[in-house]
Every structure is written in C-alpha cells, then in structure tokens.
C-alpha cells in the first residue's frame, strides 16, 4: 500500500506540489490525471525517491523513500515521461542491460514480460531508435518490469502515442494488474481516467478528488446541456451573455451549458438561441464527462 501524507515540494518559488495526501491500495491501477505542469512528474519523483519532499511523508509498502531509498528502488519499476531507452542499442541489448543492472536475467523473469515482449521479440536486433511509438512503449514497459517490481510507476506513458497504441498499452496495464502488480500511472488525457480503478485529479500542484472515475462523474452537481446550432461560436457568445448562464464552453462538436437555475428545460435554452437568430438548434441533457468534472473542480478553486 502507498500512503502519501501531506507532501509538498517547491522549486525556486514555484510550488510544484501542495500538501497532497492520498492512499493507493495494493494491486490497484491508480491514475493521476492532470494537464502538463500540474505537478505529476514531481510527485512521481518523490514517490520513486529521486526527489525529497519539503514537507510530509511517504510510505511505499512500509518503506520510506527518503531514508530507505535503496530498498525502495529495488521494489519499483519506473518509466519516466521522456523516452528513457538507449536509442543506439537494440531491443535485446536494452532489455538485457536493464536486467543485469537490476541483478537479474531476461530468462529468470521472462514469464512476467512474455505477453508484452513477445510482440516485439521478432525485431529484437533492431535499434530502439528505429521503433514506432507503440513498440518503444512495449520495450520500455518490458525494461521497467524485468526485475519483478511490486510497484510500477509510469509517468505519462501515453503522451505522444497514437490512439491504437494507447489502447493496447492500457490493455497491457490491465493484464499486469491481474498479476497483482500495483500500478500508478499519470496522464494528461482526461479520457484515460475511466480506464483506472481510481483517479486523482491534479491541477496546480493540488489534488482535487480521489475517487473511482464513475463516482466522480456521479457526484457532479447540476445538469449539463449539450447545445448545438448552425453556428456554435455565435451560440457560445450569446449564451455567455445570458443572465442564467453559470458556465458554457466548447465541448467537441457541441457546447456544454450549465444553468444557475436548478430547473430549466431544454426548450427554454433552445428558444433563447432561436430568439438570437440561430438556427438548427439542438439541446439535450447529457451525463457529465470527467472533463466536465475537472473543469468544475478547477473553476470553483479559482473563483
């Protein structure tokens, strides 16, 4: 189990992480969701013992990353945000290097990485620099797993990877989870939240909610209307001037509109827009998305 207790970290006046407290259970697939600069990487580096927190404490399966960093480093597999493999070494050379460094061999723990590694094994003589994004990821994951870690720390593993490879990657994480490995992952993509058991929404160094993704969505207060018209931009400007408007923002092909009033009908909104000379207006009540929740959380904070 991971216990994070009110940790903070500042770099030259920038408060990167502010009093973050949470728990991750053993065997859980836990996600830190937040944009670039939210403090995810700093938090990960405190977990993996590369950075010492200014305040607060961390316990990884009973170990303190500050004092017992050597033991901590044995039990974690870490994939930093930047592609961390040697591009001028081949797949096989990379993997066997990391295996030796962690005091093991490919054969010894082959069963752990088999599912992932066998997909790239046919190309094992190829240099890592010549691999596609998805293949690099598989190799990086294999390298992080080769010493049989109890905990996988993956910092933005899907950044810059296309949708197909992202999906494959999450499938691999689920398979690993079923083997009992605790996985902590960070991502800037809101749509990946639903793939985690529980998520922490992060913004400006703070954690806003730590919950199951579904619970976060269920707890959303108020109704969200998806509004479409022949000119979404004009509708947006018009709705913003409306006295009842609580919030309105673009959301994919439509706008998401929140009203101050607790009861408001679709028709009312439609009529308002028709009055403003917009056409083809469609209004529908929708269930909030994790992005809506994120916006709501961060907006209440700035208000």
């Amino acid at each position: 189990m991971i216990e994070i207790n009110a940790i903070s970290k500042a770099f030259d006046n920038v408060q990167a992480v502010k009093e973050v407290s949470l728990q991750v259970d053993e065997g859980e697939l836990f996600g830190f969701i937040g944009p670039d600069g939210a403090g995810k990487t700093t938090l990960f580096r405190m977990l993996n013992s590369l950075i010492v927190p200014d305040a607060g404490s961390i316990s990884l399966f009973g170990l303190d990353p500050v004092k017992q960093y050597k033991k901590v480093r044995q039990i974690i597999g870490y994939m930093p945000g930047k592609f961390s493999l040697y591009t001028d070494l081949s797949i096989e050379e990379n993997l066997s290097f990391f295996a030796t460094v962690f005091g093991t061999t490919i054969e010894e723990n082959y069963h752990l990485i088999e599912d992932i590694y066998k997909q790239i094994e046919p190309f094992k003589k190829r240099l890592a620099g010549q691999l596609s994004g998805g293949m690099k990821q598989k190799l990086a994951l294999s390298c992080a797993l080769i010493h049989k870690p109890k905990l996988l720390l993956l910092d933005e593993p899907t950044t810059g990877v296309d949708a197909v490879s992202r999906r494959e990657f999450w499938d691999m994480l689920k398979a690993l989870k079923s083997k009992g490995i605790t996985i902590v992952v960070s991502t800037p993509y809101m749509d990946e939240a639903s793939l985690c058991d529980r998520v922490a929404l992060m913004q400006n160094g703070k954690v806003h909610a730590v919950e199951k993704p579904q619970v976060i969505v269920d707890q959303f207060m108020g109704n969200i209307f998806a509004v479409k018209s022949n000119n979404n931009y004009k509708s947006l400007l018009q709705l913003r001037t409306w006295e009842h408007c609580k919030n309105v923002y673009p959301f994919g092909e439509s706008l998401h509109y929140l009203d101050h009033r607790s009861k408001v009908s679709e028709k009312e909104i439609e009529n308002f827009l028709l009055e403003k000379e917009l056409a083809e207006v469609e209004v529908a009540l929708v269930t909030p998305d994790i992005e809506d929740c994120f916006i709501a959380f961060t907006q209440t904070e700035t208000d």
């Binding site: 930093p80 961390s84 290097f97």
Partner: protein, 364 residues
C-alpha cells in the same frame, strides 16, 4: 561487479554504434600530429629584413652576406637612419631590422666585442622569436669561425628550430587530445543520459553513483591510452621524435592526466543541463586554455604576468612540462615530482567536487 561490467559494455556499444564520433576520436590525434608535423612548420624561409648599417665596413658586409646566404632572410631594404625603422615595420615589409653600431668592424677587431641590435616585429611573437634566434645563431657561428679558423660548424642542423618546434608541439597535442577525448566525451556522454531521461532510471536502479561514474569513465581511459600510444608511435616512427626518458613513467603521467581530464569532464556534466552546454563548456573552459595558456603555442615566459599566474591553474601546463622533461630531456621522476603532485592535487579537488555534486537524487 556484473552490473558494472554490463554498464561498461553498454558504454562501448554507444561508442561503437556512433562510428562518426569514433572516427573523430581515433583519427583526430593522427591528423593533428600530421598537420603539426608537416603543414604548420615553424621554419622560416626568406623572411624580409631591413638593415641599418651605421658602420658600413668589411665586417658588417661579411655578416650581412652570411645572414642572407643562410636562406632564412632576404634583404628587403637598406635603411639610412633610425627614423625609418618604424615605417619599415608599418609597411609590413620587414619582419626584423638589424642595426650595426657605428665603428662595428673596428670594435670587433680591436676590442673583440661590438654591438648589434635586432629589432623584431613582435606582433607575431613566434616568428619574431625564431628570427632573432636564427640571427643570433648566425652571429655566434661567425664568432667561432673567426676564433678557430678552419672549423666550419654545422649551423643549419644546430639551429634548425623547425624540428625542435615540432618536438615542442607533441606534448601540447597530447594534452589537447587527452583533454578532448576524456573531458569532453565523458561530459557529453553523461549529460546525454540526463537529456534522454535514462539517468533517472539508472539512479533508481541498484547501480551506485560511483559505479555509474566509473562505468562512464572506463571506456574513455582505454581510448585515451590508445591515443597516447598512437601519438607517441607516430611521433617516433614518422618524425623521429625520441622518448629520451622512461616510457613507463611517461605512460603513467599520461594516465594521471587522463584521470584528471575525466574528473573535469564529470564535474562539467554535473553542471551542464544538456549535451550542447557540456560541449561548449568543454570547448571554452578546457580547450581554449589548453591551446592559449598552457605554453603549447605561446610561450608562458612571453605572457603578461597576470596570465602567467593564471596559467598555473591550467592543469595541462604542468602536464606539458612533465612530458617535455621526460621525452625531450630524458628527466626522471626526480625532476618532475612537483608537477606530478600538482596533477594529483587537481584530481583530488575535481573528484571531490564532482562526487559531492553527483547526487543520488535529482535535486541539488
């Protein structure tokens, strides 16, 4: 130990995969030696000089004749007064002006001593130095020929600064190459790990910082040794540069200097954020001082006092003294123990600083 060997193996793979860098590392020393040996010759031929002969007697004529016959000098103009000296230099026509005092021949024959003035255009200090030495040599030989008639000394060989100049540049080239291979390459290869993010993974692994550093450094020690040997071999067989002193001692000092350069490289890598910075710092903080202040190209004695002081903290200065002593003078450790101690002191300081800065964590 297994880990360490794996690490060194990986470093060698990096070096061999990047064949361009490898070519530079192995071919550059050879190219440097060849360039210094053949192209940049310090021999002077037909340097224009001006002559101000206030005496105009037999002796001065004979001397002038001797100077011009040596092939080093050609008389560009004959001046009639001191006031013309400056303009001769300013026009850039004369590199040196020879002034015979009045009654030169008289004094020479009667007192056995007469004064001659050599005025050099020192805006090019090397040429100036060489020209004056040539001229002095010719005058000295003239003295001798007259005192012991019948003996005609081999002026040319004795005063051939050409070969000697090349001898002098061998220690400098060695210092430069070792600095480059060791300091620049290690600092670049360590910062590369930082830049690619793999340093994070290495730090987290059970590898100790010392193992990481040693693993980075070992391949370059080997490369440096190979380079040292190839420089010495090339010097010996192609240009006949002798190693008068003990070869073992010379190699020992080279390895010592390599370690010094490596520790500097590590220090640079702890400060530099990326490969670009590492390269620039290595270039400006290491290469330029080596070239300019170590006595490699410009003699330290000719420098302003402040620069002479600064040259003391330039490690290659001491290395060059050591190599010159061993190679050219054949001196043993008893002549260079001081310089050796200075090198060791540098190593202690740099290693101490870099181990202190090379953290087990990412922060300072």
């Amino acid at each position: 130990m297994n880990r360490f060997i794996a690490f060194v193996k990986k470093e060698f793979l990096h070096i061999f995969r990047d064949y361009r860098t490898m070519m530079i590392l192995f071919i550059m020393p050879i190219a440097q030696i060849l360039i210094f040996g053949f192209a940049i010759t310090t021999e002077i031929q037909n340097a224009s000089i001006a002559i101000l002969d206030k005496s105009k007697d037999e002796v001065t004529r004979e001397l002038t004749q001797k100077l011009l016959a040596s092939g080093y000098f050609s008389a560009d103009q004959y001046l009639s007064s001191e006031s013309e000296i400056e303009s001769a230099f300013k026009q850039g026509r004369a590199k040196m002006v020879i002034v015979y005092e009045s009654n030169f021949g008289n004094n020479y024959e009667k007192i056995g001593a007469s004064n001659i003035q050599l005025i050099c255009d020192a805006s090019d200090p090397n040429t100036a130095r060489i020209l004056s030495q040539y001229a002095e040599g010719i005058f000295a030989s003239y003295n001798r020929t007259n005192q012991a008639i019948g003996i005609i000394p081999e002026v040319r060989m004795f005063y051939n600064e050409n070969l000697d100049g090349f001898y002098m540049s061998i220690p400098g080239i060695m210092a430069m190459i070792l600095m480059l291979v060791s300091a620049m390459m290690t600092s670049i290869s360590i910062t590369r790990e930082k830049e690619f993010g793999s340093m994070e993974v290495l730090l987290i692994s059970p590898l100790r910082p010392l193992q990481i550093i040693l693993g980075k450094v070992t391949p370059y020690i080997l490369m440096a040794v190979i380079n040292t040997i190839s420089i010495l071999a090339l010097g010996y067989w192609v240009f006949g540069v002798p190693v008068k002193g003990s070869l073992a001692l010379l190699l020992f000092e080279c390895i010592l200097f390599t370690i010094l350069a490596l520790s500097l490289g590590i220090l640079i890598s702890t400060v530099a954020k990326n490969q670009m910075v590492a390269m620039f710092v290595s270039m400006f903080a290491l290469m330029l001082p080596v070239i300019l202040l170590s006595g490699f190209i410009f003699p330290i004695d000719n420098m302003p006092v402040i620069l002479q002081w600064i040259s003391n903290i330039i490690p290659p200065k001491w290395f060059i003294i050591i190599v010159k002593t061993i190679m050219l003078k054949g001196g043993g450790l008893e002549y260079i123990w001081k310089e050796t101690l200075i090198l060791i002191a540098f190593i202690v300081v740099f290693v101490g600083l870099s181990v202190k800065k090379f953290n087990i964590r990412l922060q300072d």
